[in-house]
C-alpha cells in the first residue's frame, strides 16, 4: 500500500530527515518517492531498507549523475529519487551500517558543500530583502513588508547557523579522531 506524507525539512536538518526515513523503514514504510515536501512510502518488511541523503554536485548535469547512480547500483545502492541537488538513496539492510563516506574529512567536505549553498542563498535573500525594504520606504504600509522580510531573512539565517554548527561539530570530531 502507498501512503503519502508531507513534511518540511530545512537543509541543515538533513541528518534528522535521514533518521526519520530510517525510522519509517523500521516501521515497515519504505520511501519510494521524494520531492521537497512530499514523501511517498510503500509497505516493506520492517527495517528492510537503510536510507541516506546526499547533497551532490553530480546531480547538476545528466551524465555525471547517471554515472554516479550506476556506480552506486553496482554496489547495491538504489537511487530512490532526486530533488534539486539532493539525492535519496537506499540499500537493503544487511546488518552493516550504510555510510557514504569512510572518513570524517569527507563528511566535512560534504557538509561544506551544503554550507556554501546556504551562504549563496543567504546572500541572494539579503539583497532581495534589502531592496524590498528600500522600495517600501515611501509606502504607508511599510510595517507588514518589514516584518515579512525580516522573517524571511531570520529563517534563512537560522538555516545557515544550523549548517555552520554541523560543520563545526564535524571539525571537532576530526581533531579528536583523525
Amino acid at each position: 500500500m502507498r501512503t503519502t506524507e508531507w513534511h518540511f525539512w530545512t537543509i541543515d536538518k538533513y541528518k534528522e530527515e535521514e533518521k526519520w526515513l530510517n525510522e519509517k523503514s523500521a516501521q515497515g514504510k519504505a520511501l519510494v518517492y521524494a520531492s521537497g515536501i512530499k514523501y511517498v512510502f510503500e509497505d516493506c518488511e520492517k527495517g528492510e531498507y537503510q536510507y541516506k541523503i546526499m547533497f551532490t554536485d553530480n546531480l547538476k548535469s545528466e551524465q555525471p549523475r547517471k554515472d554516479f547512480e550506476s556506480f552506486l547500483e553496482e554496489s547495491g545502492i538504489e537511487t530512490v529519487g532526486n530533488y534539486l541537488r539532493w539525492g535519496y538513496y537506499r540499500k537493503k539492510n544487511d546488518g552493516t551500517p550504510f555510510e557514504m563516506f569512510n572518513s570524517k574529512s569527507e563528511e566535512l567536505a560534504h557538509i561544506n558543500k551544503i554550507k556554501n549553498f546556504a551562504l549563496i542563498l543567504l546572500a541572494v535573500i539579503s539583497i532581495v530583502v534589502v531592496s524590498e525594504i528600500f522600495s517600501a520606504l515611501s509606502d504607508p504600509h511599510i510595517l507588514p513588508v518589514l516584518i515579512f522580510n525580516c522573517c524571511v531573512f531570520a529563517f534563512v539565517f537560522k538555516v545557515n547557523r544550523g549548517i555552520a554548527k554541523l560543520a563545526k561539530e564535524t571539525r571537532q570530531d576530526i581533531a579528536l579522531f583523525e
Binding site: F71, L72, E74, G76, T96, E99, F101
Partner: protein, 106 residues
C-alpha cells in the same frame, strides 16, 4: 628514488584502491577486494570510492581499462605514475613498520 612531486602519505582507502587496480577491476570489485585484503576491516563506502576514483583519474594515477564504451561497469587499471606513488608509499610504510618492530622488539 622518491619523486618530490608525489604526495604521500596516502589515505588507507587510496592505498588499497591502488593496490587493487594493479589488475583491471570495476568499482564493486574494488570494494570486495579491499574488504578481503583488510580481513573485513575496511569496507569502502560508495561515496568515498567514487570520489577517490574521480580524483585518481584526474591525477592520472589510474585510467579506465578496455574500450567497452557502452559497458556500465567501468574497469580501472593503475598507470605508471600510479605505480610510482604506490612504491613510494610502500617504502614509507616499511620504514614505519621496521622502526616500530625495532623499538617494540617484535
Amino acid at each position: 628514488m622518491a619523486d618530490k612531486n608525489i604526495n604521500t602519505p596516502l589515505t588507507e582507502a587510496v592505498y588499497y584502491i591502488l593496490l587493487s587496480v594493479t589488475q583491471p577491476m570495476h568499482g564493486y570489485g574494488i570494494i570486495q577486494n579491499v574488504k578481503e585484503l583488510s580481513y573485513g576491516r575496511l569496507i569502502l563506502a560508495a561515496g568515498t570510492l567514487y570520489g577517490a576514483i574521480t580524483n585518481l583519474l584526474a591525477k592520472g594515477w589510474i585510467e579506465t581499462a578496455g574500450e567497452e564504451e557502452n559497458s556500465r561497469k567501468k574497469e580501472y587499471i593503475i598507470t605508471d605514475s600510479g605505480l610510482a606513488v604506490l612504491k613510494t608509499e610502500l617504502a614509507r610504510l616499511e620504514e614505519l613498520v621496521n622502526n616500530g618492530r625495532k623499538v617494540m622488539g617484535e
